[in-house]
């Protein structure tokens, strides 16, 4: 994937996880700012998926590689929404920490996408 987009999504995901960590430490409940941050990461991941769909024809990827690539990209789309659903059903430090897990998993997914892309 050309351009800095994957790296931007990776850094944004890690930053999101770091911000959530601050929320957990301060025992703050998730607010609209946090939700907005997640929405930005989510939108960037969606753009990443679209870019991958557009560019995948022009790169040398085996059949398994294509499945793996889009598996990770689709996982990247569902992680944050599911994380928020699971997190917001309860108000506790542990529930807020769920968003950190989702953010770190998101970063891992993007890292794997960058590794799979030739």
């Amino acid at each position: 994937m050309d351009g800095p987009l994957p790296l931007v999504v990776l850094v944004a995901s890690l930053l999101f996880a770091a911000v959530v960590l601050v929320y957990v430490v301060l025992d703050r409940t998730p607010d609209w700012g946090l939700l907005g941050f997640a929405a930005v990461v989510e939108a960037a991941t969606l753009v990443l998926l679209v870019v991958a769909v557009v560019q995948v024809g022009g790169v040398d990827l085996s059949g398994g590689g294509v499945v793996t690539l889009f598996g990770y990209l689709l996982a990247g789309l569902v992680l944050l929404p599911i994380g928020f659903l699971w997190s917001l059903a309860e108000r506790s430090r542990g529930a807020t920490a769920v968003l950190m897990v989702a953010g770190l998993a998101q970063a891992f997914v993007v890292l794997r996408v960058m590794a799979v892309w030739p």
């Binding site: 599911i82 994380g83 309860e90 506790s92 542990g94 529930a95 920490a97 769920v98 950190m100």
Partner: protein, 135 residues
């Protein structure tokens, strides 16, 4: 009076999230392996599928889905501990045994040792939230 705490509340919520990520990752990985190259390393891929089922069961049990979730969680987390210790030991002693890596190979070193830490965290959490008898 006997009372159990919820396994999906508080810290348990984050634990369920970690298990959920592993369930998703292991299931997806297993489907790709079985779907694209099942004959290359049947034992390793069958093991991946078993590990995926164990993580799904642990996630559902800890999230208190279905009947007898606590029993499901105990069974899954116990199996997970035996699995990661057995497969970890076997792969360290004989790296040729599994030609392709599984989530439990080398005690989960490829996944930041999380597969080794998780069952202990799960057992500790199930123990922490067990039924306590109040006189």
């Amino acid at each position: 009076m006997s009372r159990t705490s919820s396994t999906s509340s508080g810290l348990g919520r984050a634990l369920v999230a970690v298990y959920g990520v592993f369930a998703l990752a292991a299931t997806a990985r297993s489907l790709v392996q079985l779907g694209t190259k099942a004959d290359e390393a049947p034992l390793a891929y069958a093991l991946s599928a078993v590990a995926a089922l164990v993580y799904v069961a642990a996630t559902l049990g800890l999230a208190e889905v279905g009947p007898l979730p606590r029993r499901l969680a105990w069974a899954a987390v116990g199996f997970e501990l035996v699995g990661v210790l057995t497969v970890g030991t076997l792969t360290v002693l004989d790296p040729e045994l599994f030609p392709d890596a599984t989530v439990w190979s080398a005690y989960g070193a490829g996944y930041g040792w999380l597969p080794l830490v998780l069952p202990f965290a799960g057992i500790a959490w199930l123990w922490h939230t067990r039924a306590v008898t109040h006189p």
